[in-house]
């Protein structure tokens, strides 16, 4: 089968040089990544910051060499046939500040179109069409330094679609955007894939809702490894037999999370401290295990403020696979770096 993206045992190790007081060390950013993404798919890579998503994108966009393994994009090897890969791809990163602030939106987009060999006439026509689609037609001649973060990101996204790539890489495309702008961007991404049945998008995100709403398939990645890969619905079905509860409680009064996890029938517990309360997400084997959880809390003097049973989400799938919520993983990483 002709895949848009194919990777086999892809790995990347960064070598960090030692300083006067530190030893050189190696960081494994990716390990044994095997992915097969079909043409026409909107594929999501879901994982916390530092999971290896951006490293994978860098390799697939020919910007970084893998330490071992290999990858093909649009049918060509990213290491040995980079010149064949490059005309067929484009990339947009969240929060990027590419282009030049002194140039207008049109001039910036025109410049990047030239790097792909698109004639000025075609480029200008497409720029107008695309800016119209993203609701920026009136900003055509605004200096890009005058744009808000949201508008700037829309300009970047337009840049990615402008060259009509076979495979488009979107690295956290809605990072830093407000809810409304994110929704518009997601709508545009979905429309682009629907309108072009052979176009492929690889999207990285750490927003569960984004992956759930947009992607045909999702790979969950953590510490450089792909832990699961399936459609959002199938991934969530893995937890269909479990009971998932969301609980808001008063501060835990010394009650340890592992005391809850040790209760028979409790699968995973993730906790998110709030201002004056704690949110607990519990994955239980059966509904009735909740009574044992409630008992343990009552004995520990923890008050239950709110209790809700809900359907599984991709966040629950992540907790089930990793043992912690994405937020907790990022918190631990931030504390250790």
């Amino acid at each position: 089968m002709d895949f848009a993206i194919y990777t086999e045992n892809l790995a990347r190790i960064y070598k960090i040089r030692g300083g006067k007081k530190s030893e050189p060390k190696e960081i494994t950013a990716l390990k044994d990544v095997n992915l097969q993404i079909e043409r026409g798919e909107l594929f999501g890579l879901l994982g916390p910051n530092g999971a290896g998503k951006t490293t994978l994108i860098k390799i697939l966009t020919t910007l970084l060499a893998p330490t071992s393994g290999w990858a093909k994009v649009a049918g060509y090897n990213v290491t040995t046939e980079a010149d064949m890969v490059r005309p067929r791809i484009n990339m947009v990163s969240g929060g990027e500040s590419s282009g030049y602030g002194l140039l207008t939106v049109r001039e910036n987009l025109w410049m990047f179109a030239q790097f792909y060999g698109i004639s000025s006439k075609d480029a200008n026509q497409r720029i107008k069409e695309l800016l119209d689609v993203v609701g920026m037609a009136d900003r055509l001649n605004s200096k890009s330094s005058d744009l808000s973060t949201g508008l700037r990101q829309k300009m970047n996204i337009t840049r990615g679609f402008l060259t009509d790539p076979d495979v488009l890489f979107l690295d956290e495309p809605t990072l830093g955007l407000d809810v409304g702008a994110s929704r518009e961007v997601r709508r545009f991404i979905r429309k682009w894939v629907n309108d072009h049945p052979l176009r492929t998008i690889l999207l990285t995100t750490h927003y569960m809702v984004e992956a759930d709403e947009l992607c045909d398939r999702v790979a969950i990645i953590n510490k450089g490894r792909v832990l699961a890969c399936d459609s959002p619905t199938s991934l969530k079905k893995r937890l269909q037999s479990d009971a998932i509860f969301r609980m808001e409680v008063s501060p835990l009064n010394g009650l340890e999370i592992n005391q809850l996890e040790n209760i028979p029938g409790v699968g995973k517990v993730s906790h998110h401290p709030q201002d004056g309360s704690v949110i607990l997400e519990l994955i239980l084997k059966q509904d009735d295990v909740i009574s044992a959880v409630v008992n343990t809390m009552t004995v520990a003097g923890v008050r239950i403020l709110h209790l809700q049973k809900r359907e599984p989400t991709l966040e629950d799938v992540f907790v089930d696979l990793v043992g912690r919520s994405m937020e907790e993983v990022e918190r631990v990483q931030n504390a250790t770096t």
Binding site: K58, T62, S97, E107, M111, F115, I118
Partner: protein
């Protein structure tokens, strides 16, 4: 939307050169502060030397030497800050990754940067030269216009070739690129004889300084536009033309080789994207 036609080969190369030159030729003129920083400040620097030469009653040609040297500093500053360390800024902005990932040649990007910088800086240099000559009543007497143009072109090709080579070498650097540029700025004013005839330096120092194309370019141009220029020249004009020609070839081919090597190394070591990602 219909299927897009995309040029390849030399058409893509030329498109890339023009597109990358565009922000420098058009964009940079929109920031009007350049008139103060790129014109007024250099004129102040020139004035200081002119007053010193006049105070010590140096030959009047020296005033012309200073004005010409002051105009040429614009090119040195441009090569140092907008060529050599440019790829570091491009990397931090996120542009470098997009340049490399696109199907264009990086050599075309560098050429575009050089061409755009050359055009924009020539405008500044012409204004400095005109204003300086007017303020200090400098008289020029061109003995060979064709040679003068040839020297200017060769000096620029080799200077910007050197800038492209430095840009390639700086590709792997991070913030050090900024420090190196800072370090190179002032010594070259001295070594290349921006404000005095380079012949005044020790022969071997002047010869070593000739690796910087502006040294011989400036020396040869002074010989051709001032009556006593030839007597103050370091080497004869034909020799300086020949050396500049060789330097042009060396730097252009050197930058091409170095760029390819550095790009491969940067991809291997993962140094092509901004440090925050």
């Amino acid at each position: 939307m219909r299927q897009l036609r995309k040029n390849t080969g030399w058409r893509l190369f030329i498109q890339t050169v023009i597109a990358r030159a565009y922000p420098r030729v058009i964009g940079q003129q929109r920031e009007k502060s350049w008139m103060f920083f790129d014109i007024f400040l250099p004129i102040m620097g020139i004035s200081a030397y002119v007053f010193v030469y006049r105070a010590i009653q140096a030959p009047e040609e020296y005033v012309g030497f200073v004005v010409m040297g002051g105009a040429m500093t614009a090119f040195w500053m441009n090569v140092l800050w907008s060529m050599s360390s440019q790829l570091y800024w491009e990397k931090e902005q996120g542009n470098l990754a997009l340049y490399i990932m696109a199907p264009n040649s990086m050599m075309a990007i560098l050429l575009g940067m050089a061409l755009g910088g050359l055009v924009a800086t020539t405008m500044r240099a012409v204004v400095i030269l005109g204003l300086g000559s007017f303020l200090f009543q400098v008289q020029y007497q061109v003995t060979n216009f064709i040679q003068l143009m040839l020297i200017f072109i060769l000096a620029m090709v080799s200077l910007y070739g050197m800038g492209m080579m430095a840009a390639s070498a700086f590709l792997l650097l991070s913030r050090e690129a900024w420090h190196i540029s800072n370090l190179a700025q002032e010594p070259v004013y001295l070594l290349s004889g921006f404000y005095f005839p380079v012949k005044s330096l020790n022969f071997w120092i002047a010869l070593s300084a000739s690796l910087i194309p502006l040294t011989l370019g400036l020396d040869a141009m002074r010989q051709l536009v001032f009556p006593s220029g030839a007597s103050l020249g370091f080497l004869s004009v034909p020799v300086e033309i020949s050396v500049l020609f060789i330097l042009s070839i060396l730097f252009l081919f050197g930058s091409r080789y170095l760029l390819g090597y550095m790009e491969r190394l940067a991809i291997k070591e993962g140094r092509l994207t901004e440090s925050r990602r």
